[in-house]
């Protein structure tokens, strides 16, 4: 049952949703391929749409993946599944926050989890690059121009410090001009 798969995946994901959302891509990718929700390209498009919307990227991705897999009810179930863990955790943690805030054990856990979240995001970039054939060295107009767009996007983000949403929109315009 697709709705149950969606709920289960995103409910579990809600409990480990660290790192602002992009770290959650590997979890979504593996669930999507395991349950056969959608193709890898479609999934990339959903993540792109999630990045263009306001709100947390992990929740936005869940909504779009849910919608894409099971329509409006899929979107609602996925959003609720992502929000529930936040509510549960905040309410339980709030009760004894002063006890765990600055506790050496919690700090130690984050000391290890933070670099692992970084690994998750790097892993997501590698996997997405593979499914979108970015790392394939093939000499054609499209592959070379795409590498160029990749470099320009990174430059705009890192050096020019543009808002990612504008980078996505501009890239879309470039794509329309170049590939249609």
């Amino acid at each position: 049952m697709v709705l149950w798969e969606l709920f289960y995946t995103f409910f579990m994901m809600g409990f480990v949703s660290f790192g602002g959302g992009y770290a959650m891509i590997p979890i979504i990718t593996s669930a999507a391929s395991e349950y056969g929700w959608m193709s890898a390209e479609r999934l990339t498009d959903m993540i792109a749409l999630a990045g263009m919307s306001p709100g947390p990227i992990a929740t936005n991705s869940a909504i779009l993946v849910g919608y894409s897999a099971a329509g409006i009810s899929g979107a609602i179930i996925s959003a609720l599944a992502m929000l529930l863990p936040s509510i549960i955790l905040v309410i339980t943690v709030a009760a004894f926050f002063n006890m765990i805030h600055h506790s050496p054990m919690v700090e130690a856990m984050f000391y290890v989890i933070r670099p692992l979240v970084t690994s998750l995001i790097i892993f997501a970039a590698i996997r997405f690059g593979l499914t979108n054939h970015l790392w394939i060295l093939k000499v054609s107009f499209q592959s070379i121009s795409l590498l160029f767009i990749f470099g320009l996007s990174l430059f705009a983000l890192l050096k020019l410090r543009w808002n990612p949403i504008y980078v996505i929109l501009l890239s879309g315009l470039a794509g329309t001009a170049l590939y249609s």
Partner: protein
């Protein structure tokens, strides 16, 4: 009863108004939440607000949703938490859904397909950018660098849930061997004052 209903509606409406500001993550909302909840409505004190944001950044999930849940809970218990989360989530839910609907509506159009050929590549750049940003706060010494490097190949074989879970366990074990290495120079970046002022942080909803 009527009084409580009005309060709940106020909570809902306050977060409903703030929500669409949160493009790409909750950090943009922090100053607005502070203004509405502390200065205008006087629902919570400044000290409470500091605690709200510290907690919201520690708990998994978006900062906006977490702070809404926390503030709502403080004001009106579990009902308040649910109301605040509904308020903060509904606008973005509708916007995201509208985007999704329009995507599927124009799906297959050559111009849109062409746009997404380029956007897919840009998304990979954005993910890489996210990794670099997070690495700056996560990689504080050789051990964290090693953990990050070992984590990438491990993810090809082990499910992310298990990797994070094992990471937490290793952290607990580490407390017995290593004396507080965890508060490096970078740890101040988790504080809300810095986070809300730094535009870089707007992208990253959770505070890890």
């Amino acid at each position: 009863m009527k009084e409580q209903g009005r309060k709940l509606f106020q909570i809902f409406w306050t977060f409903f108004k703030i929500s669409p500001v949160s493009f790409g993550g909750g950090y943009a909302m922090i100053p607005l939440i502070e203004k509405e909840i502390n200065e205008k409505k006087k629902w919570l004190t400044r000290d409470d607000m500091t605690e709200v944001f510290a907690l919201s950044q520690t708990v998994p999930g978006g900062v906006g949703v977490n702070s809404a849940a926390f503030i709502g809970h403080r004001i009106s218990g579990i009902k308040g938490a649910l109301t605040a989360v509904a308020g903060v989530s509904l606008p973005t839910f509708l916007i995201v859904l509208a985007l999704g609907l329009s995507y599927f509506f124009v799906q297959g159009h050559p111009k849109l397909e062409a746009a997404f050929v380029s956007i897919r590549v840009t998304i990979i750049a954005i993910i890489l950018y996210a990794a670099i940003k997070i690495a700056k706060t996560a990689i504080v010494d050789k051990i964290t660098f090693f953990i990050m490097t070992a984590g990438v190949p491990a993810l090809f074989f082990i499910h992310p849930f298990i990797v994070i879970f094992i990471g937490g366990l290793i952290g607990i074990v580490l407390t017995f061997f290593k004396k507080r290495p965890y508060t490096g120079a970078n740890s101040k970046q988790y504080k809300q004052e810095d986070a809300s002022k730094n535009p870089d942080n707007y992208m990253w909803g959770a505070g890890i």
